[in-house]
């Protein structure tokens, strides 16, 4: 059994996620090998690039089936940014692309989700605080101040997500966007904990203790 496996789908800045886990005392494996994913203690789907390219890479390497299988074992899985979006049913980015279908919901471009107010920008870039939907903090958000800010950078966002799966939202224009999701052993953050200073590192530590 290996420790944390960061699923490599051939795009973007995966080294930052690895660096962050190293910093909190874990030595993750970066891999798209289905066997290594199956044997992991926990799996991280990192987040950059395009939905279609990520899904087709996961399919080509059979990593998609391995991730879905892993999700059923009850062991912890964290999706970050695009990695969170992949957990949902589908995305409408450049036509419709099916996702992993592990959490109900769809991914849409920001301006289809919210009526842009005067001050809207796309992509949504910056440090944003969260609005929790729970009275007691989820284990992923344990020990974090309620006004903690996290680094977001995205043009797409999850929508039509069951309220029971949403742990926290964040404000964009005049809408509350899905910021943190949880369904059983599956977590997802729209922001980048590996780029969110000490609060982000705390969140990743919480994930490791899950």
């Amino acid at each position: 059994v290996t420790g944390v496996v960061i699923v490599d789908y051939g795009a973007g800045n995966i080294s930052s996620v690895r660096n962050a886990f190293r910093h909190i005392g874990s030595e993750p494996l970066v891999s798209h090998d289905p066997d290594q994913i199956s044997n992991a203690k926990s799996v991280v789907l990192p987040g950059v690039g395009s939905y279609g390219a990520a899904m087709s890479f996961l399919k080509t390497t059979n990593a998609d089936a391995a991730v879905v299988q892993f999700a059923k074992t009850g062991k912890p899985l964290l999706g970050i940014c695009l990695g969170m979006q992949l957990l949902f049913d589908r995305s409408t980015e450049f036509g419709e692309t099916p996702g992993l279908g592990l959490i109900g919901g769809e991914v849409e471009v920001l301006h289809n989700i919210a009526q842009p107010s005067e001050d809207w920008k796309i992509p949504n870039v910056g440090w944003r605080s969260l609005k929790s939907t729970r009275e007691k903090p989820d284990s992923l958000l344990l020990g974090l101040p309620s006004d903690a800010e996290f680094y977001f950078t995205h043009s797409f966002s999850a929508t039509r997500v069951d309220a029971a799966d949403v742990l926290a939202t964040t404000r964009w224009s005049n809408a509350d966007l899905v910021a943190v999701v949880r369904r059983g052993n599956l977590w997802g953050t729209q922001f980048h904990p590996e780029k969110s200073g000490l609060h982000g590192l705390q969140l990743l530590s919480n994930f490791l203790s899950a």
Partner: protein
């Protein structure tokens, strides 16, 4: 309350952090790794590295620096200077960059912006514009080659075109004010803001804490500070605290 990001801009020449005035008169400031570490520990929101001699050497040489800094600083890092292709950009992303900034090569070949956006996503592509007020007094020209050469392009029109091609952020530097600490060219920032919907990072001329309010008023999303931080004439704490007494603010905690 408008939330701005505060970025440190580190101009790099070989192994050194340097600082120029109006893009000329370069002098060595020190080791960029120790400055980056210091700024991260003091709560900077992001760091922008520009290789100022990349075109001289034919390639961007920030990869080693990015590897070291990204192992210790868990905030967004931008790399720029001399990037001409998707492959060069990939090296920098794989070394720890979250965003790359392009200028000269994008002006020479604007479709480079689309190629980069397609490969890495718009949110990772910053188009850097070095804008110099034209002598006649109306408008600004986008300069290339680190502020040394003319392009003939109107800076505001170029920003709009860059957004259409897929730029996820515009970084605008006032060449006239750069390193002078004489205040921002907020007319320039407002002119670009009124034409684009992507975030805008502004720099060039920060001298007093009150300049930040003007940057916020001009619709900017991120203020990049170089000279004033490097020579200790202002601290990150002062910059951030000055923000919170007014109509705008910065990230308040999470670095200690």
């Amino acid at each position: 309350l408008r939330k701005l990001r505060l970025a440190a801009r580190l101009d790099i020449k070989g192994p050194n952090l340097i600082k120029g005035i109006q893009f000329e008169g370069l002098r060595v400031v020190g080791d960029p790794r120790s400055f980056a570490a210091k700024y991260y520990n003091e709560g900077i929101d992001e760091i922008i590295f520009i290789d100022t001699v990349a075109s001289l050497y034919g390639r961007n040489q920030l990869d080693g620096l990015l590897r070291e800094v990204s192992a210790q600083a868990f905030i967004p890092l931008t790399a720029g200077g001399g990037i001409k292709s998707v492959e060069e950009a990939r090296v920098l992303f794989n070394s720890g960059a979250d965003k790359i900034a392009v200028n000269t090569a994008a002006i020479a070949k604007p479709t480079l912006i689309s190629e980069l956006a397609e490969a890495f996503g718009s949110q990772a592509i910053v188009v850097s514009i070095q804008a110099k007020r034209v002598a006649s007094g109306s408008g600004w020209e986008a300069l290339v080659e680190n502020g040394r050469e003319h392009s003939g392009l109107d800076a505001v029109e170029w920003a709009t075109h860059a957004q259409t091609l897929g730029a996820g952020e515009i970084m605008v530097t006032s060449v006239d004010r750069d390193g002078t600490k004489s205040g921002f060219d907020t007319r320039l920032f407002s002119a670009i803001r009124s034409e684009v919907r992507v975030p805008i990072t502004v720099s060039g001329g920060l001298g007093a804490l009150s300049d930040l309010a003007e940057a916020a008023d001009s619709g900017s999303d991120c203020v990049a500070v170089g000279a004033a931080l490097h020579d200790n004439s202002v601290s990150i704490e002062e910059l951030k605290n000055s923000g919170n007494t007014q109509e705008f603010g910065f990230r308040l905690g999470g670095w200690r």
